[in-house]
């Protein structure tokens, strides 16, 4: 006899809490599942920002969040990529644009044609053939919604973190999530399972499934230690992160700006009313006070208000789902706020939990599959982030020299070797970043393919040149037709006014 899982208690805070609670409620509310959200005191600061990859849009669609509402509630700015500066001392910045696959034209991608052209002396970088990268450089963003011929570029967001959490909270309430504030006073365990969670006012909560969305505090899952957590510090060496705020940039860029400096990197994230700043660095070689002091110089902006420093260690909990408790977000996976993945582990976690939501509350065999899939995703993103460090060309700086000399992860070594050899991005199961993304960062960091797919040579030289030129023209033309960030935002405001009316 199976006993349905009917009661879920999500303990957490901020965006992670509300994303999980709203997603579970809208997926299973109609099937009779009750979702309670216990809201812990927020850890968000006014200066905090979320940078989000385009895939977050799919979650918004599921949750019924209109883009116009999102942008208005979060002082949000759409963005089509990230620009990386100073990761190599002698090279200009490069863009990681959010291109999506065009209609598949056989096995040979356009990139392979570019590799050949490059080897034969073409001076135009691949970036100029990337719709998203060109759009980013011109401050433009494609409209994607309701387009019958969707653009080959997609966009993510910069969002004011508190505004985003508030919007999601509202949405969760509307979806039927029950919610109360509180603090956890005690967790009573029965073997691996949580029997009861007691709140500070004495209320005791029982559930078939608990979700820990409390962030690094991991209030239910328990503290991370060397037995339950794999550290990625040898590949992602920073241990501190800081958020701050600066005046807005005009015109608003359509990308985040990620600049390396001698002990880490500083990111600038345009919002509608200001520029959010994040720095991530190694405090052993660069003290926190020094960091705060250097921020205006490193960002090139006057920093307003407080900077808030948080320590962290990149890595993942080996069993995010253990017993009847699923850790989602920073309670399970700790990545750098690099590559706009801050909300991504929440997205991956909740997507997998919806797919594997227990059918029998007394037999949670889904945990193994869940853990395998979530860790696979996390390690793939780790590789992507680690690639920035590994491939840096800031020679003669101890921090960067060590990052370049780090050994592994083996999967990253494989990816770099294959790309250097044939220009093929190696993708494993459960990739968040696709071929276009890997191509952009590997090329950007200076990995140049030595050869290309032999089928490219079947195209006669004149036709090849024509193909390359045509692509260049198409990209330029398509970008010209896109609105700039301000126009995009204005259109969204009009849409919202219309809907309100």
């Amino acid at each position: 006899m199976t006993r349905k899982a009917e009661r879920v208690v999500v303990v957490g805070r901020d965006a992670a809490l509300w994303i999980v609670a709203a997603s579970l409620q809208s997926a299973f509310g109609r099937s009779g599942v009750r979702v309670d959200a216990i809201e812990l005191p927020s850890l968000l600061q006014e200066v905090d920002v979320y940078a989000a990859v385009p895939s977050l849009g799919a979650l918004h669609k599921l949750l019924g969040i209109e883009e116009s509402v999102l942008l208005a509630a979060c002082a949000g700015v759409p963005m089509v990529g990230q620009r990386f500066s100073n990761w190599a001392k002698s090279s200009p910045p490069f863009l990681h644009g959010y291109d999506v696959e065009r209609t598949p034209g056989g096995d040979v991608t356009f990139f392979q044609y570019w590799v050949k052209a490059r080897l034969e002396g073409l001076k135009v970088g691949f970036e100029e053939f990337s719709l998203a990268a060109v759009a980013a450089k011109q401050g433009r963003v494609p409209f994607t919604e309701d387009d019958p011929n969707p653009s080959a570029a997609s966009h993510g967001y910069h969002l004011h973190a508190r505004g985003y959490a508030a919007l999601l909270k509202q949405l969760a309430g509307r979806a039927g999530v029950r919610h109360r504030r509180g603090r956890v006073a005690g967790v009573e365990r029965d073997g691996e399972r949580i029997a009861r969670v007691t709140l500070d006012d004495g209320e005791a909560l029982e559930a078939d499934l608990f979700v820990d969305a409390s962030g690094t505090e991991a209030v239910l899952a328990g503290p991370a230690n060397s037995d339950n957590f794999e550290s990625w510090r040898q590949w992602l060496p920073c241990d501190s992160t800081l958020a701050a705020s600066a005046q807005p940039l005009r015109p608003a860029p359509a990308f985040s700006q990620i600049s390396a400096f001698r002990a880490g990197w500083v990111g600038l994230y345009p919002l509608q009313d200001r520029t959010a700043v994040i720095a991530t660095w190694d405090s052993k070689s660069f003290g926190a006070a020094q960091m705060v002091e250097s921020l205006p110089v490193l960002s090139g902006l006057a920093i307003a208000g407080d900077a808030v420093v948080t320590p962290f260690e990149a890595g993942a909990r080996l069993r995010p789902w253990s017993g009847n408790c699923v850790a989602i977000g920073d309670s399970a996976i700790s990545l750098e706020p690099l590559d706009a993945v801050q909300l991504h582990s929440v997205h991956v976690g909740v997507t997998q939990l919806v797919a594997l939501f227990p059918v029998d509350a007394d037999r949670l065999i889904e945990a193994d599959t869940y853990n395998e899939v979530v860790l696979q995703h996390a390690r793939n993103v780790r590789d992507f982030q680690a690639a920035h460090y590994r491939l840096n060309r800031r020679f003669d700086e101890p921090f960067w020299d060590a990052a370049r000399d780090a050994v592994g992860p083996e999967t990253l070594d494989e990816r770099i070797r294959l790309f250097a050899s044939r220009g093929l991005p190696l993708l494993f199961e459960g990739e968040s970043f696709q071929e276009q993304n890997w191509t952009a960062i590997l090329l950007g960091h200076g990995v140049t393919p030595a050869s290309y797919d032999p089928r490219v040579d079947r195209v006669p030289p004149e036709e090849h040149i024509a193909k390359v030129q045509q692509r260049l023209r198409e990209v330029a033309m398509e970008v010209r037709a896109m609105p700039n960030v301000e126009e995009y935002l204005a259109a969204m405001r009009r849409r919202q006014e219309f809907q309100a009316f």
Binding site: T2, D107, E366, R417, R422, E429
Partner: protein, 514 residues
């Protein structure tokens, strides 16, 4: 800029694998990049028997520029919508593994959860009734899938049955027309470069020395270069896939032309039936540990639906694969790289995917290890995923009427498979992977057909009112039935589209039945 000298590629062996490689390299590589030479000996027979394929075959043929109707005419080809597994789950059972989805195009991979819920409520017909490809198979119908991806008639794909020896002959002509050079002769010696250890040349019986930059070993089970010369070890999977022999025998064509392969479970293995236009291919794949050869041959001959056209011929094999199928400057294809029994018609697929990977990763004269490493990684994934899928057929059965089946039921299966089965049994969960063969609809049909009944289904399926679900299922079933009835009979379709000269006409066949 001077063009580099062409890469000299030498293919050893002219069976299906060898000629597929020659045809693909000859037509997909740019002119002047390679010289392709194939060495085969007419004295060495090929293993080619009546062969069943997978839908991927069509994209291979399309990619290299083979005309489908001509190929089918020449190879006595017929269409295939799936495989009918008879007596596999239990004696008296039959299920079709279709080349298509269950449900309508909008349902995605969630159809079976809704179906399971309706089934448990007593409101659903057998799952076959909701698969267009299965219903068409059961009624012996065939037509090409609809172009309109929203139509129920678009929810399947198709493969071929053909005579593999005729396919090799066809591809030989095709390849020679594209510049592939054929040399008749036996290889006496594989000569390696004493310094690098790479393969340098082949010495033929005629005395000729054939030098090359890259060698494709299609020598069959002998694995002349990869196994014998380079010493790449064979990893054996007999403990999971114990069959190691097959008897094959052709029979006269009998009855309506079925658009599917049939696999019938037998005491010590299984029997195939592959309908071609001019004859039917039959064979008994068995484990010599569980039945004597004579007994197996007798069993096959006693279980034919038409007079045999020849004496049964025996083949020996072993399930498994070479640790690496690309070593140094030699890449092995087909049987020279590994063998998985033809239960799911994967042999030609494995050759095809290997060739396509070779083309994408084609090395220069000096082999970049990164390319080889990636090739071996891709092939490993393919082999292991197919292996697990095959083991599922053997392991998940309620048959206990013979020693082989009792062994298979009780054997330890790979952990990866064990977890998959457990998750399906628990909740109808099917893993979805990006690389490798067999998508969720394939796993679904085999899990269910082999008798693994899920205890639960995805909780989200509860969200729909049961009345609406029941009505939707009824509509879908009717829509499929109507769509299939509008298709021509498979035999008629083949006769119109690609008649083989030696095939009896469908008209006379049906008259004969009267």
């Amino acid at each position: 800029m001077t063009e580099p000298a062409p890469l000299e590629i030498v293919i050893v062996g002219g069976g299906t694998a060898g000629w597929m490689a020659a045809a693909a390299l000859g037509s997909l590589l740019p002119p002047g990049r390679c010289n392709i030479r194939l060495i085969e000996s007419e004295e060495i027979g090929t293993v080619g028997v009546g062969e069943a394929t997978l839908p991927h075959m069509k994209s291979f043929n399309d990619a290299i520029g083979v005309d489908e109707a001509e190929m089918m005419r020449r190879t006595s080809g017929t269409f295939k919508l799936g495989i009918d597994f008879v007596d596999w789950g239990f004696k008296g059972s039959s299920y079709v593994h279709p080349f298509g989805i269950h449900g309508n195009p909008a349902a995605g991979n969630s159809f079976h959860h809704h179906w399971l819920r309706a089934l448990q409520a007593g409101e659903a017909a057998p799952i076959e009734d909701y698969s267009f490809a299965i219903v068409a198979s059961r009624r012996n119908r065939f037509a090409f899938p609809a172009e309109d991806k929203t139509a129920i008639e678009s929810t399947f794909s198709y493969a071929y049955h053909f005579d593999a020896s005729l396919y090799a002959v066809f591809l030989r002509e095709f390849s020679e027309a594209r510049g592939v050079k054929r040399t008749e002769g036996k290889v006496l010696e594989v000569v390696c470069d004493p310094e690098s250890g790479d393969v340098a040349s082949l010495r033929l019986e005629s005395g000729e020395i054939v030098a090359g930059d890259f060698f494709v070993d299609c020598s069959g089970f002998r694995s002349l270069i990869l196994g014998q010369t380079l010493g790449v070890a064979f990893e054996e999977w007999t403990k999971w896939l114990p069959c190691d022999r097959a008897f094959a025998v052709p029979t006269q064509r009998q009855g309506e032309l079925t658009p599917y392969t049939r696999s019938t479970c037998r005491e010590a293995g299984w029997q195939w039936r592959i309908p071609l236009q001019h004859r039917t291919g039959n064979g008994y794949v068995f484990s010599s540990g569980f039945i004597g050869e004579d007994e197996a041959a007798a069993s096959l001959m006693a279980n034919l639906d038409a007079p045999a056209l020849a004496e049964p011929r025996m083949l020996r094999f072993k399930a498994g694969r070479r640790a690496n199928s690309w070593e140094r400057n030699c890449l092995a294809l087909g049987l020279a790289s590994g063998f998985l029994e033809p239960l799911e018609s994967t042999s030609i697929y494995l050759v095809q995917i290997a060739i396509m990977n070779l083309i994408a990763l084609l090395p220069d004269r000096k082999v970049d290890p990164a390319l080889r490493e990636e090739y071996n990684r891709r092939q490993d994934l393919e082999y292991e995923r197919i292996r697990d899928f095959l083991i599922l057929h053997y392991h998940a059965t309620s048959r206990d009427d013979s020693e082989l089946w009792r062994y298979c039921r009780a054997m330890e299966v790979p952990d990866s498979l064990k977890a998959k089965i457990e998750m399906f049994r628990h909740r109808g969960y099917i893993e979805h992977y990006k690389d490798g063969l067999f998508t969720p609809p394939s796993w679904l049909s085999v899990y269910l057909g082999q008798g693994i009944a899920p205890e639960g289904y995805h909780p989200m399926a509860e969200g729909m009112p049961i009345e609406r679900l029941t009505a939707d299922l009824r509509t879908l079933r009717e829509e499929i039935s109507r769509g299939v009835d509008a298709m021509p009979a498979h035999g008629e379709f083949v006769e119109r589209y690609c008649p083989h000269p030696a095939a009896p006409s469908e008209m006379s066949a049906s008259e004969a039945r009267l």
